[in-house]
Structures are given as structure tokens and as C-alpha cells.
């Protein structure tokens, strides 16, 4: 049996921090994508003509019903075959972003429906059009009301982002594996990586709590 010795981590600290940095970057960019597309999907499913809404709904079913890993393989390895060559980082962001956009869309759709019809009537009576009413009145309220589940999705995204290591993105897990392949010390590196994920999560949660507190006043 080999004793635990966390000093093996020290020479690889920069590598791990770089990995954590990429994980943060993936989370922020895929998170932004999942938020924007979550709103777009929700609005499309609710209000777009059937010819647009149904394909989007079908797309959502597929993305919700298949594993993220498979989706990443399809985007990164599969699309090349039909001539669409997406760099690994972009493929990772798109895959993670769309996957979580589908979950966000579900939440936001419910949030939009839950906004009181009086809000729409209030805006329409002033002279706002349908899209203006959605943009300025309904969606901001739907987002505020669904901030907690959207936040949970973002936390899930942060953790699930580790999966893009399989297409060679040097995020935190990938970096840890690299260090392990040189040192053969999986326990120390995986524990360290786990600790770094935990810290990233604390930061994210603090940000989300702050947002929710701000929102509390305006409800």
C-alpha cells in the first residue's frame, strides 16, 4: 500500500489551476448560451407558428432524451463527417450550452405561463406589442420567478462540464488526468480537483444568492 502524499500536487498546481480556469470559462460561456437559448426555445415553443415550434420541440425532446456524452460525440466527431468541423472548445460549449438550454427552456416556459395575464393586459393597454410585452414585462418576471431552478441548472452545468474532457478540452478533470498519467497518484489529484470544483461552486452559489436577494425586492 502506498501512503497518501499531497505534496505530489505542488509541481502540477499551475496545470490544475489552468484546468479550473477552463472549467470556469466553459461554465460561464455555456451557461450564457444555455440561458439565451433557454429563453429562445421557451418563447418559440409557446408562441411561434407550428412549423417552427414543432421542430424546436422535437429538438428539445432529443436533447433531453439522450446522454450529453453522446451529444458531444455527435457534435465533435459526427458533424465532421458531413463537413462541419467544429473545434473542441466550441463543440464543448455548444454541446453543454444546448443541453442545458433545453432544461432552462422547460423551466422558463413554465415561468412565462405563470406570469399573471394582468401583466400582459397592463402592457398591451399602454400600447406595447406582443414581442415588446414579452421582452419588457413577461420574460423579466419569468426569469426572476424561476431564478432558483435556473441557478440549479447552472450548478449542474459546472459539474457536468467535466464530461468535455473526453473530447480533449483541458479543463479541470482533463488536467488532473494528465498529472495522474505522469505521477500515477490518482487519489491525490482527484481529491484536489474535487476541492477546486467545490470552490468554484461556492463562488457560483454566492453569485446566485446575491442575484436572488436583489430580485426579492422587485417581486
Amino acid at each position: 500500500m502506498q501512503g497518501l502524499d499531497f505534496s505530489v500536487v505542488v509541481p502540477y498546481w499551475d496545470l490544475l489551476l489552468t484546468g479550473a480556469w477552463w472549467t470556469a470559462l466553459l461554465t460561464v460561456s455555456a451557461g450564457a448560451l444555455s440561458f439565451v437559448f433557454g429563453i429562445l426555445f421557451a418563447v418559440t415553443v409557446l408562441y411561434a407558428p407550428v412549423v417552427v415550434a414543432y421542430p424546436v420541440r422535437a429538438f428539445m425532446w432529443v436533447f433531453m432524451g439522450t446522454p450529453l456524452l453522446l451529444q458531444l460525440f455527435l457534435i465533435y466527431f459526427g458533424l465532421v463527417q458531413i463537413g462541419i468541423d467544429i473545434p473542441a472548445l466550441a463543440a464543448g460549449i455548444i454541446g453543454l450550452g444546448l443541453h442545458f438550454a433545453v432544461y432552462n427552456a422547460d423551466v422558463i416556459r413554465a415561468g412565462i405561463v405563470a406570469v399573471d395575464v394582468g401583466q400582459t393586459e397592463g402592457a398591451r393597454s399602454i400600447g406595447f406589442g406582443k414581442l415588446q410585452t414579452l421582452r419588457y414585462v413577461v420574460i423579466p418576471q419569468a426569469i426572476r420567478n424561476t431564478a432558483p431552478p435556473i441557478g440549479s441548472n447552472l450548478i449542474a452545468l459546472l459539474k457536468e462540464s467535466s464530461i468535455v474532457s473526453v473530447i480533449g478540452i483541458a479543463e479541470l478533470v482533463h488536467s488532473a488526468q494528465l498529472a495522474i498519467s505522469e505521477t500515477f497518484r490518482p487519489f491525490e489529484f482527484y481529491i484536489t480537483a474535487a476541492a477546486l470544483y467545490y470552490i468554484l461552486n461556492l463562488v457560483l452559489e454566492a453569485g446566485l444568492r446575491r442575484f436572488e436577494r436583489n430580485v426579492e425586492v422587485s417581486r
Binding site: 394582468g118 399602454i126 417581486r219
Partner: protein
């Protein structure tokens, strides 16, 4: 345009919800600066009539006119959208449940219409909003969120929000029905002030005393028709129809 052209005119308004006919051919004409109160029991169609004036309800038959412009024009799709959005900018509506935007501060609620729809500069819109807020007695609530206001204060903000679009007519849909009794007067006072400034108003209300004080004309509706109408003095003292008498007896004795 003749001077005698009514500000609001409704001709033969019909509306059904499913099999239930709630408006059975209503005619209504409101002159510039006139104040018309619409009274009647629940389900009489009075709110539906008011809401059809700014097309929150789409009539099945009949016409609505605002200052010489037909509101429910036979346009389709986007063309109608553009038309109705323009028309609604000229009508203010005040709802029973205020319908303020909770995610915006009081002043944002008021400036939003002028800034986005009229392209007014933000500073100018804020000035306008401040003026309106002092008018309704809420100058100190500018940066407050609606959730921090009482019902009466919310309704006064809602009136200021509607006035910010400088409407030709104000529609009040049971504006005081959701308020605590001691909060009713502060909203009524604002409406009286508007009356004194000769704002054209249509007021759907359950408050007979207020209707009597402020209205030039009272319309009594029941079962989707106008049963009787006239100056408040005549209507309340000597109603001609039995249906009006029995309705008023219940309300005026209360």
C-alpha cells in the same frame, strides 16, 4: 372632423363567450370631456364593454370608434397589430388589480411607455413621471418597488402610468373594487381631479355614490344590454325601469 364628433362611440357591440352572449348590441356615445359611469350587477357585461373599447376583448359584432378612428378595423395579422398598438397608446386603462409591473420601480413603470413607445428621452420622461407622481400625491415613492406600496398607492401609480401616455380617454375597470374601504377615497380623489381637468372618462364601478358625484351620465347595464341611462340625479332619484329600481335599492340602502 366636426366638433360634435364623439370621443368614444360604440355601435351595436356584440360579444359572446362560447354560448353565452354577454353583450347583446350595445350603443354608447361619449363626448369629449364627458364622464360616463357604467353600473350594473356582476355578469351584466359592463367590464366586457369597457375592455372592448381598447380591444382587450375582440367584439363579435359592432364597431368601436375613438375620436373618429375605428378601433376594431377589419385588418389582419401584423397590420392590425400595428394599428391597435397605436390606438391603445391614446387610451389609458386602469385595472381592478392595478397590473403594475412588479420588477420595475414606480418611476420605471411610468416612464416605460413614453420612452419605448414614443421615443421620449429618459430625462424628459422622468420629469413627466415626477410631475404625474406629485399630482397623484406619491412624489416620495419614485424609486420604490410596487410590492412596497399599499393598494391605494398602487392604483394611483397605475393612473399616473396611464396618464404618462397623454391619453384622449381614460377607462377605469372597477378601479377601487380591490381596495380596503379606507383606501378608496384617495383613488377617488385622483379621479375627481381628472374630472375637473375635463378628461374624458368611462368608469365601470360598484360605487353608486362616487358615480353620482363625478359622472355626467350613468349607464345601467344588465344581461348584456343597457337597461337605462341618464344624468345621475335622474337615475338615482327616479329610475324609470323596475330592474334599475331593484338594483339601486340594494346598493343605495347599503
Amino acid at each position: 372632423m366636426s366638433l360634435r364628433q364623439p370621443m368614444v362611440e360604440v355601435r351595436g357591440a356584440r360579444k359572446s363567450f362560447g354560448a353565452v352572449e354577454v353583450l347583446k348590441g350595445i350603443d354608447l356615445s361619449v363626448e369629449r370631456g364627458q364622464i360616463v359611469a357604467i353600473i350594473g350587477p356582476s355578469g351584466s357585461g359592463k367590464s366586457t364593454l369597457l375592455r372592448s373599447i381598447n380591444h382587450l376583448e375582440n367584439l363579435n359584432g359592432g364597431e368601436v370608434w375613438l375620436d373618429g378612428l375605428q378601433v376594431n378595423q377589419p385588418l389582419r395579422g401584423q397590420a392590425f397589430e400595428r394599428h391597435i398598438n397605436k390606438v391603445r397608446q391614446q387610451m389609458g386603462m386602469v385595472f381592478q388589480h392595478f397590473n403594475l409591473f412588479p420588477h420595475l420601480t414606480v418611476i420605471q413603470n411610468i416612464t416605460m411607455g413614453p420612452v419605448i413607445l414614443r421615443g421620449m428621452a429618459k430625462a424628459e420622461a422622468r420629469g413627466l413621471a415626477r410631475g404625474l407622481l406629485s399630482k397623484v400625491g406619491l412624489a416620495d415613492k419614485i424609486d420604490t418597488y410596487p410590492s412596497r406600496l399599499s393598494g391605494g398607492q398602487k392604483q394611483r401609480v397605475a393612473i399616473a402610468r396611464a396618464l404618462a401616455m397623454q391619453p384622449k380617454v381614460m377607462l377605469f375597470d372597477e378601479a377601487t373594487s380591490a381596495l380596503d374601504p379606507e383606501r378608496v377615497d384617495e383613488v377617488n380623489a385622483v379621479m375627481k381631479q381628472l374630472a375637473a381637468e375635463h378628461m374624458t372618462m368611462l368608469i365601470v364601478t360598484h360605487e353608486m355614490r362616487f358615480a353620482g358625484e363625478v359622472a355626467d351620465r350613468v349607464l345601467f347595464m344588465d344581461g348584456g344590454v343597457v337597461v337605462e341611462e341618464g344624468p345621475p340625479g335622474d337615475m338615482f332619484r327616479a329610475p324609470q325601469k323596475e330592474r334599475t329600481r331593484s338594483f339601486l335599492k340594494k346598493y343605495l340602502s347599503a
